[in-house]
Amino acid sequence: MVDSNSVSGKKKPIQVEIFPQRVLMPDTAEQLLNAIDKVQGVIRMVIQGPSLPNRVACGPGAGTPVNHPDRRIINVSGHAFELNIRLGRVQVEIEDRSVKEKLRQAVDEVLPFPFEYREGFFIRRKATLTDYAKYGFKSKTDESINLDDERLLGLIDPKAKAKDRICMLEPTEER
C-alpha cells in the first residue's frame, strides 16, 4: 500500500514492523490498516501472512473451490480491496522517528492482544538488477529506473503482477 499524501524527500524515513501475537481476522485487519493509515507520516506499508487460496492447489481435491469466508473485500481509507491472506505482519515506512511512537499508540488501540514492534530495514528502497530487467531504464541517456513512483520498489515480488497487489491510497480532505 502506498500513501500518496505523505511524500517527503527531506526527512529520513525509517521502517518498523508490527508483528501481532495472533494472525488477524479480516475485521481486525481492516481496523488495523485504517488506524495505521490515519497516522500522519506513513509513506507505504506491506502486509504479509499465509494465503487464503481460491482453489485447492494439490492433492486429490485439486481444483475444488475453497470459498474461504475470510477471503473478502475490506475497506481501507475508502479503497476496497480483496484481502486474500490471513494478516500476520505489517511493515510500515514512516517519514521519521517522531512518527514511530504515534504509530505504536494507534496499533495499541486496535489490537486486543500483545504485538512485537521493531525498527529495521524491511522494504527495499533501491532498484535491483531484477527491477531493471522488469522496468528498464528511463531513456538512453537517463539510466535511472523507468518507474514513475519509486515508492513501488520492494512492495511486491519482482516477478509478481502488480495488479490487485498494490493499493494506492489517495489523500483525503481531512488530512
Binding site: P20, Q21, R22, V23, L24, M25, T28, P50, S51, L52, P53, V56, A57, C58, G59, P60, G61, T64, V66, N67, H68, P69, D70, R86, G88, P112, F113
Partner: protein, 248 residues
C-alpha cells in the same frame, strides 16, 4: 511379576501425557459417529462397503506358513481392504499430540500400521477399516483438540503458524472453523466439501491445552524442566553415537 512397560521418563505433565498417549491410557472427551469419521476421511462414501484389493483371506487359500498360523490378521487384512491413510496436523501452540506421539500411539497399540512422521504432520497408513478405528480413537480422545489439530490429507500448512485471533489453528482450505463455541468440519481431509457438518465439539481452553499437551515448550513446560528426560536423552545419544547403539 507381570512386566509393565515404561514408555517414557520424566515427572512433568508433558512426560506423563506422553506416557498416556503411548500406552493408550487416554481419556475420551467427545463422541463422533462412525459415518462422520468416514465422511471426514473422504476415502469412501459413508454407508458403502469397503472396497477391497483382494478376496478375504479365508477364501484365498493361504500357503502353509507357520508365521501366518501364529499371527491373526487384523479385520481389515482378513477382509482384503485397501490401504488408506489418515493424516493430522497439530499446532505447535500446545496441541495435545505431537506428530511423533500420534505415530507412537498407532505403532504401539495397533497392528498392521505404517506410521510416518514429518515435522508438522503425522500420517498413519493401514487397511481401511483398521485405519478408521485408529482415526476415530484419536479424534474422540484427549489426543486431539479440534481447535489445535486437524485432519489434513494435503495442504497441512498451519502447525507452525501463530494461532488465529479465535484461538484456532490456521487452515487455508477452511476444512473446519469455529462456529459459536464449537468446531465444525464440513470438508474432508483434502478440502472436498462433504454432505454434512460434523460437530467436533468445543476446542480446549488455553489452560486445558497446556495441561494436556505433549509439546515441551518454553512458557509452559520446557524440555529443560525435566531432569530425568534430559538424563535419558543424553544417555541414549551417548550410547548410539559412541557405541553405535549396541548396548551389551
Amino acid at each position: 511379576m507381570a512386566y509393565t512397560p515404561q514408555y517414557y521418563p520424566g515427572s512433568t505433565s508433558v512426560a506423563e501425557n506422553r506416557r498416556k498417549h503411548m500406552s493408550n491410557n487416554v481419556e475420551k472427551l467427545r463422541e463422533v459417529s462412525d459415518e462422520d469419521v468416514t465422511a471426514m476421511l473422504g476415502h469412501r462414501a459413508p454407508g458403502t462397503d469397503y472396497p477391497s484389493t483382494h478376496p478375504p483371506l479365508a477364501e484365498m487359500g493361504e500357503p502353509d506358513c507357520p508365521v501366518r498360523e501364529i499371527v491373526t490378521p487384523t479385520p481389515g487384512t482378513a477382509a482384503g481392504d485397501r490401504v488408506r491413510y489418515v493424516q493430522w496436523a497439530d499446532s505447535m501452540y500446545n496441541a495435545p499430540s505431537t506428530p511423533y506421539w500420534r505415530s507412537y500411539h498407532a505403532a504401539i497399540n495397533h497392528r498392521g500400521v505404517d506410521p510416518g512422521t514429518l515435522s508438522g504432520r503425522a500420517v498413519v497408513e493401514a487397511r481401511e477399516r483398521d485405519m478408521e478405528l485408529i482415526a476415530k480413537e484419536q479424534i474422540e480422545t484427549e489426543m486431539t483438540c479440534p481447535g489445535l489439530a486437524g485432519l489434513r490429507g494435503c495442504t497441512v500448512h498451519g502447525h507452525s503458524c501463530r494461532l488465529q485471533e479465535d484461538g484456532v489453528m490456521f487452515d487455508m482450505l477452511d476444512r473446519r472453523r469455529l462456529e459459536g463455541d464449537s468446531i465444525v468440519q464440513d470438508k474432508d481431509q483434502v478440502g472436498v466439501p462433504i454432505d454434512r457438518k460434523v460437530n467436533m465439539g468445543k476446542p480446549m481452553s488455553s489452560d486445558e491445552a497446556n495441561k494436556r499437551t505433549t509439546f515441551y515448550r518454553v512458557g509452559n513446560v520446557a524440555f529443560r524442566d525435566d531432569a530425568e528426560v534430559i538424563e535419558w536423552t543424553q544417555r541414549i545419544w551417548e550410547l548410539r553415537s559412541v557405541y553405535g547403539y549396541q548396548p551389551k
